[in-house]
Structures are given as C-alpha cells and as structure tokens.
Symmetry: C2
Subunit: 419 residues, 2 copies
Amino acid sequence: MRPRVVIVGAGFAGLYAARALRHAPVEITVIDRTNHHLFQPLLSQVATAALAPSDITAPIRWLLRHHRNADVVLGEVTGIDVEARRVAIHGRDTPVSYDYLILATGSHHAYFGHPDWEPVAPGLKSVDDALEIRGRFLRAFERAEWATEPAERAAHMTFVVVGGGPTGVELAGVMPAIAREALRSNFRYIDTAQTRVILVEGGDRLLASFPEHLSARAKRDLEDIGVEVRLRSLVSDITPHAVHIGDEWIDSRTVFWAAGNEASYLGRALGVPLDGAGRVIVEPDLSIPGHPEVFVAGDLADFTHGPKRVPGVCPAAMQQGVHAANMIVRSLRRQQRKAFRYRNKGDLATIGRSRAIADFGSFTMAGRIAWWLWLFLHILYLAGFRNRLSVLLQWGYAYVTYERGVRLITGTERSSASG
Amino acid sequence: MRPRVVIVGAGFAGLYAARALRHAPVEITVIDRTNHHLFQPLLSQVATAALAPSDITAPIRWLLRHHRNADVVLGEVTGIDVEARRVAIHGRDTPVSYDYLILATGSHHAYFGHPDWEPVAPGLKSVDDALEIRGRFLRAFERAEWATEPAERAAHMTFVVVGGGPTGVELAGVMPAIAREALRSNFRYIDTAQTRVILVEGGDRLLASFPEHLSARAKRDLEDIGVEVRLRSLVSDITPHAVHIGDEWIDSRTVFWAAGNEASYLGRALGVPLDGAGRVIVEPDLSIPGHPEVFVAGDLADFTHGPKRVPGVCPAAMQQGVHAANMIVRSLRRQQRKAFRYRNKGDLATIGRSRAIADFGSFTMAGRIAWWLWLFLHILYLAGFRNRLSVLLQWGYAYVTYERGVRLITGTERSSASG
C-alpha cells in the first residue's frame, strides 16, 4: 500500500499540493466542502456582476481528472485526530486515515466579536457570498426606484463597504461605475448617478500591505471615481437601516463587510499553538510541532521564520502547497526537509474599472497600465480552467459597453436587510 | 395623462406585449417577481450544466432600457381588483392602478394533489429550479462515489424523470451522455457509465403533441442513448429513497418532476371562468368576459376559439402578448378588435446531445439535422440578449469535448433528498 496523503481544502494551497504530488508514489484524498475550486482573486468580479460564477470556478474532480492517484471527496471535515492520524467527515461513519496530512482550509471573514452584523453586512469568501452581494446590490436600486420618501430613496442608494484592503477597495471601486454607466438608462425615477459609495477603513491608509505612496494613489483614484473614502474610522454598530461610523449614523440599507479574516476553526483541532488570528504557527518546513507528518499551508498557516510574515495571498498559498507536497516526497525518499521560502513576485490591486496599483519590490506601478497587467496576469492564471475565453469575452463586453452581463438576482434573500 | 398599461409577468407573453407597445401613447408598468426575463426553452441546458444561468437570462430593465414609456417593478402581485382596476403588490402599501391590464403569469409545475412530492422531486420552471436540479444531479455522483453498499451506490446512480413531455425528454436525454462522457474520468470508485436514467410517462407515447411516428422515433432515440422509457406507467408514490411506479418500487435517490403544469393562481383573482387546469378561458380577442380592458396572454390563457387549442409554447405566448398589445392600441384608436389567430410555425424537441424531432405540419424531420435546426433557431431567438456568443462558445465546447462547463454546485440543498 502506498502511503495516503489527505489534503483538506482545495483552494490554491490544497490544489497545488495535489498537483505537485501527481507523480509521487502516494494515494491522495482531497476533501472539500464544495465541488469546485474557486479562483478567489476574481470573486469581486462575480459580486459586481461582471463575471458569472462558472467563469471563475472549476470542478475539483475535473481539475484532477488525469491524476490517477487522487480521489476527491465532497464533504466537510469536522475533526482531526493527530494521534490516530485520521480526519472525521460530517455525515460519514468511518473517518479517513492518513499517513500525511496537508491542512489548507484557509480563512473566512470575521466580525470581531459582532457575529450579529453578519446578516446585515455579508462578507465575500465563497461563490454563494458573491451571489448574495450581487443580489443585494442590484435589489437596492429596485427598492430605491419604488421608494416614496426621498430619505428612504437616498438610504437605498447609499452603499457602505467596511474595510480598506484589496477586497474592499475592489468592491467599492467598481460600484460607482456600474451605477452611473450600466444601470443609469434602466431606471425611470431614480438617477443612479447619485449613488453614494462609502469605503470605511479603521487604519490611516488603504491597502496597508502596499507602499505608502501607492495607498495614497489608490485613495486619490477612488475619490476620482466617486467613492467617499473614510480613513481612521471605526464602525461601532450596523443595523438594517444605518451604520454607525465614529459618532455619525449613516443611513444605508446595504453594507458589505471586507474588514478582516479569521482562520478556519480546523486549526484548533491540531492541538498546537495558534497566533492571535487563529492561524497555526508552523515550523520552517510548514509542518506542525511534534507532528512532522502534518502540514499547514495557505491562509491557515502563520509562517514566522522568514524576514517578513508571509501574506495571505494566492501566490503564497500556491507556494506553500507545493512546498508541503515536496516535503512529503523528501520524507518518502528519506531526504532531509528544507525550510519554506516565500518568493514574492509582486502584489497587485485593482481600483475600479481601469486602474490598478502594482508593487514589485524594486519598482512600483499605478494607473491604466497596471490595470492591463492585472487583467493579463489574471487571465493567464486562469490557465487550467477552460473559462479563459469566456472571461475574456465577458470582460471585453463589459469594458467596451459599460454593461454588466451577469445582472441576475437568484435565490431568496438570506435575511432581510431592508424590509 | 396617457393611459396606463400594467403587464404582470415578463415571460415571453409579457415581454413581447411591452415591446409591441413601445411607440404606443401609453405608460407601461411591467411587474415581475424576478429581475430577469428567462429564455425558458434553454432552461434544461442550465439544469444539465451545459449553460450558465446568465447565458439564458437578461435583466428586464435592460431589455426595456430604450422604451421610454416603460417602468419595471420587481415585486410579486398578490391580488387584482378588476372593478377598481388595480393590482396589489406584496410589501407595498399603495396598489398600482391600470387602464389596461395584461396578465401573463404563466404556469408552474404541479404535483396533482401530491404537494408532498415537491421536496423530493423538484420541477423545472425557474433559474433557481435549474440550479437545484443541477446540484442534485451532480451531488448524486459524489454520494455514489463514497457509498459503501453496492445497493446504495446503485440507488444514487439511478435517476427517475417523471413526465414524457419536452422537458422530461430533454432532461432524461442528456443525462446518460453526461454520465458516460463528461464525468467518467473524474471518479475513481464508480463507473459512471452504469448510470440508470428512467423516463416515466403515464400516457401511451412520449411528446404527445407531436405526430405519432415522431413520438416513436423519440422513444427509439432515447433508448439508443441509454434511457429506459416506461410508457403507460403511473407514479403512485415518491419517497427520498424510492419511486413507486405501477407495482414496482425503484430505488432512486434523485427524482425530477416534469409531469405537468398548473396555471398561475392569479387567474383566480379575475373572477371569471377557468378551465380544468386553472387557466383563464379568454374571449376571441384575449380579453376576459365583461372586462375588455383586461387581457390574459401566454400559458395562463385558455384560447378555445381556434381550430385547435393553442399549445403552451413560447411562440404562442409571444404571439398572444403582441396581440393583446395590438388590441389595446386599437381600443385607443377606437378601432374594432380582432380575434387572435395562432400561427403555428412548427414544433421542435431535442433528444439528447445531437438529435431532435421537428413537426412543421406539412412535413416532419428527425435526427441530427433537426438538432442543428433546433440549435440554430434557439441561438437566433436569443437575439436581443447579448448572450448569444457566450452560449455558442459554451455549446461548442460541450459538443466538441463532451465536457460540461458549468458543473458547479451552489447554495445549500433545499431539502435533503438523500440524507
């Protein structure tokens, strides 16, 4: 029997780990709660109706169809027994045993002690989240169109995005253009150009992981687009009708949450020290203390052995997934393990429909060329997905016409944010 | 003040009525429960993961964006007062008044006195229905892959489609090919080629609206593809684990319902005679008895004044919508009204991935050429949608590679059909 590697989570870390083990003498079991791998960097594009969910997802089984040594399980892992070396899956009687485990369940948005805000201010981590945000954004204009009171109408047309990281900046930056361009001719009673988008950030600058001058540029670009940026502003309460920022209540019926992540609760199941955000503090080789057969990769790992903390971005997750896989191969060959080293290839963030900022360490970029670079790299990375051409067409269409192809409200509302 | 025309329902009848009134001296209000028009003839393609929801939908507002005399309301009509000439909308205090009303709320699938079957055997009328069916179909293979008992595995891989009309034939006809071709290499423990698809029809032939020899051809084609067709078979019970057909229990965890429609309940609100299926029996001009200002168009109308009953198909709905609109224009011009006449341009049904049958009255067609005709006509009719190119690409891809591009399970299960 070849040793069994169980990979929990088929995000970038898990998927790249499975791929790296394709020709290794192991049996692989990939377990995920969903049937698809999600190209997370483009999730905002789904939330803002530019792309369809199927453009940025692919079935995990399909991605691994040529990997004869890989099984895929659709299921939720509920517990890990590191001593007995097995994981429990919800609704399944027999646990899955492993010889090596790669835990890559990432993070989800967190409300910092205010779980009651979740129903009124949804976050953006999954396809379902993106559809929820898309639905709320589009429904708000429907409600504004038929509101009778001017104040109510204004409240429906006021969107608050909490959190000035890449997700918040991307969401907020796209909204004014959709309102002004794509929706304007579609309504009779409201002027969608009067839409207010407010981006709230607790710190003293946006996109804090970028150099300061790029943060300043992003703020200026957002303000040009029509976003009200509020720095050093803390949200102290969110209700279905208003948001309390500092000492001001802003009437808004639609709030989106992009203010912070919390590590997957499965990190706690390992019984090893966690950092303040619940991430697992890993050894230099990405294994956990006392269990060289257990690895943590991606957003769930806190890697403190390099010159800087490894950021929670896709390239880092891919690199860690591949590293964990390689360390398993080295163990099988009785070779010594190596320490993980993060190779920062640069960092990009989009601002609205045609601007971006880029930080390559030795040089930085901003503006339209950075946006084209962002677009090019993201289409390139969708390789392995069959969706590239469709994405390109959808974007091309949206870019040229300002129209949004995927303005579809599906499902029922998760909870009524605005009655 | 120009007279107000209220159109309830933006399916084919409602949308074509609104379009026909574009240059008429009226104000139009289109009310629909969803924000999108659905190209219903392709809904099975979404349910079987060949197309994405956004490929076959378009926002109603967007479709009517150049119609300066048309408003769109996202809302559910809960009542109609034909004496006071107004409609009530859920959650809105003030009703909407009309001078002319076109009621075009269509039909939905019906369980003939067995509403308890709905959770275990979902039907196909809306985008959400299609996503539900897609999710159940894909999840069934996931469960089969991890079933431990052979009998349980077989039950997960047995799909029953109830109803041998166009929807049932289309659903059943596509499933074997997906199982055999698209999914086969993706699973390790099950052989998806062993999937059983059973199509159950109570009458003595499939597609009863077509000539007999085409029904026979459809049956033969389906059997070639691998569908078990059971005619003269009545479903007497459906549980989460099995279907009772005749005097046999068939173990199946996944049942889809395509056995019949029931008219929208709003027909009852008009206070005029209905037929046995709940449809409104309309006058020759499509108005209702005693209320020349109220029209019923599309699937909700029972038109009995022609040589044959008008079938519940899209071309009939479009023609009736346009006719109702034209009658309003004639009334405004004090011209006499005309009787509706259905122009049957032919009838098409697909069977699986590359066959179809076509009935043009004077001649009929079957096989591959009929399928290409079906494809061509449907892409042609998606005109006015921007989605044509995307649809063409998705289909081209699916056709050439046998892959299904939209194999995405989203949302939570509506109800647990298989534990």
